[in-house]
Amino acid sequence: MTAIPMNQTDPTTESSPETEVVSLPTGDVLLGWLRDMMLIREFEVRSMQAYQNRLAGGFLHVYNGQEAVAVGTIAAVNSDDPVITAYRDHGHALARGMKPEVGMAELFGRIGGCAKGKGGSMHFFDAEHHMYGGHGIVGAQVPLGAGLAFATKYRDEVIDGGKSNHVTLCFMGDGAINQGAVHEAMNLAAVLELPVIFIVENNLYAMGTAVERCTAAGTHLVERARAYGMNAACLEGMDVLDVYRGMKPLVDRCRETSRPCWIDMRCYRFKGHSMSDPRKYRTHEEEEQWESRDPIERLAAWLVDRDLLTGENFKQLGKQVRSDIRQAVKWAEASPPPGLEELHHDVYTGNWGPYTGTSKPEFLRRRRDDQETSGA
């Protein structure tokens, strides 16, 4: 049915020593996941509109179809575990807790945006929610992800004198895995025993290139990680419950052992690569097949089956989410563009020549203050 039949690599955690039974959180939490996925979808619907209306510029890569991946993986880690991804980053930021209006304002290039309008769609950063970016250069975030994991381990062990207790989620596309930097990072993570989970959002295409056209042994991505001695799994990414159940034991193990792990997450982007992609490289039938596995519909149906949701509640939720995003758009539109003084602000932390320092230099002292406080 697709370029790569789903059954070619069985979505299992093949290398887990024993299959663990993962219990799901309560119905309220699951409803929260449903809402998060719907919020992401609606955010993307409105961001595409905004792009067409020229409220947003540059490149726009939307996350429609992949919502279960960001929501399910992020649900499996702690709220202070770092997350980093590529340029298709709205879903991860929202799943991490970024306020939609702040994301929308970034798309609009407004001062209220997460990066004051300086980063744009591809570069969503949110320190408060441990979101270390959206990164525009394919593969660039992967060594950085290893570095985030290095730092959590260093802080936990060297500075706090305890045991490594954080897990970094480092996302990349299927196209990114052929960047040299990704392989260097994988090797480093294995050699230095870094608590990082590399998640390949394998949506089968890198721009117009189907994965098997540019990736050797493209149907067996897990083999790459195993060659680095890494625990690896292929997971089904269109169902948030599958994602969560697959992730949870891997996250726990990564936290426990401080060893990297790699996931081939099978998913599909419902829209084109960016806003200028006619999608001639795939068939309409293929798109329909995948759309019939819509992660939002799927969770909603599951919840209805178990009397955790009624059709009426689902409708209500849809209304609520649409209203939330409408508010976000309003808020973003009301936020002014950055003043011209922002041009020379945040280039350096200090003042010199034309440069006027930065707004939040506290970040430089963050950890040392913690240490001093805890030592006092």
């Binding site: 540059g58 290039g109 591809m122 250069i137 990114a176 890198a206």
Partner: protein, 326 residues
């Protein structure tokens, strides 16, 4: 003469050379089945087949290096970077191998290769995607840099670059690909290192490269209405620089503004200024003024980006200032 687009002119240069010389091939991301991310190579796969028009994984360092190895064996690769911003991933092969191969091998192995792609701000792409690489790369001996501003020079310069026996970096602009202009149907070359006087004038020389040449022409029109008659020179090549043509103009006008879209520090603009100060010291009635992008990473927000980049307003101000009309 017929009018074609900049992207068609680039394609004609490549296709003509591929028909003429079967050592020439095109390699890069999405160049074949997708017809090029910006449709520059549209139809080339159909004509030349998958052995000569080759799609790659997203592995800039790998396929740039592969091209260099092939060039050492006597092939003539055209390596497309979707954007020069992505060439930074391939900095080692393109700066450490291609331009030094001839020297490091004592003249045994050359590197007749063309690297080409979009350079400069594409419009709100943010700082990772808006690189102007010309100043940074021009610092390296052993390579040549061309930067066409019209469909005509795109075809002539790229044809010359493919025939050239040294590595040539061809800097195009996403913002100009749809621009049309007169282009002869037959194949022709423009020698690398020759500038073009695109507007004659007597009061001030404006030298520029690539897309900002058009901003200079716009500024020259506005300044003409104020009674300042500018001569606009399209450098066309950055390495080598056609200082002789710039100097001849400056000897006539006695004033000069250089417009370079890259950052000012150790830049093409500073190089042109330094050279003109050396060779035209006695002819200049003011020091050469320069217009660059502001020394900050490219911002996403449209108003900030426009403020950062060179534009006609800034060029007018610089011309008024250098000619004491401010």
């Amino acid at each position: 003469m017929r009018e074609i687009s900049f992207r068609d002119a680039l394609r004609e240069a490549m296709s003509d050379e591929m028909r003429r010389d079967n050592r020439v091939f095109l390699i890069g991301e999405e160049v074949a089945q997708y017809d090029g991310a910006y449709k520059v190579s549209k139809g080339m796969l159909d004509e030349f087949g998958p052995k000569r028009v080759i799609d790659t994984p997203i592995s800039e360092s790998g396929f740039a290096g592969l091209g260099i190895g092939a060039a050492m064996m006597g092939l003539r690769p055209i390596v497309e970077f979707m954007s020069w911003s992505f060439s930074l991933v391939a900095a080692d092969p393109i700066l450490n191998n291609a331009p030094k191969m001839l020297y490091m091998s004592g003249g045994q192995f050359g590197c007749p290769i063309v690297f080409r792609g979009n350079d400069g701000a594409g419009g709100q792409l943010g700082s990772t995607h808006s690189w102007c690489v010309e100043s940074m790369y021009a610092n390296v001996p052993g390579l040549k840099i061309i930067i066409p501003s019209t469909p005509y020079s795109a075809k002539g310069l790229l044809t010359q670059a493919i025939q050239d026996d040294d590595p040539v970096f061809c800097l195009e602009s996403e913002r100009m690909l749809s621009m049309t202009g007169d282009v002869p149907e037959e194949s022709y070359t423009i020698p690398i290192g020759t500038a073009d006087i695109v507007r004659t004038g007597s009061d001030c020389t404006i030298v520029s490269f690539g897309r900002p040449v058009h901003f200079c022409l716009e500024a020259a029109e506005a300044l003409a209405r104020e009674g300042i008659d500018c001569e606009v020179i399209d450098g066309r090549s950055i390495k080598p620089l056609d200082i002789d043509t710039f100097a001849a103009s400056v000897r006539k006008t006695n004033y000069c503004v250089v417009v370079d879209q890259s950052w000012s520090f150790a830049s093409v603009g500073s190089e042109v200024a330094a050279e003109l100060h050396r060779v035209c010291f006695d002819d200049l009635d003011n020091h050469v003024h320069r217009v660059h992008s502001d020394d900050v990473p490219a911002p996403y927000a449209s108003n900030l980006e426009q403020e950062m980049l060179p534009n006609a307003r800034k060029i007018c101000e610089a011309v008024r200032s250098v000619t004491y009309n401010a």
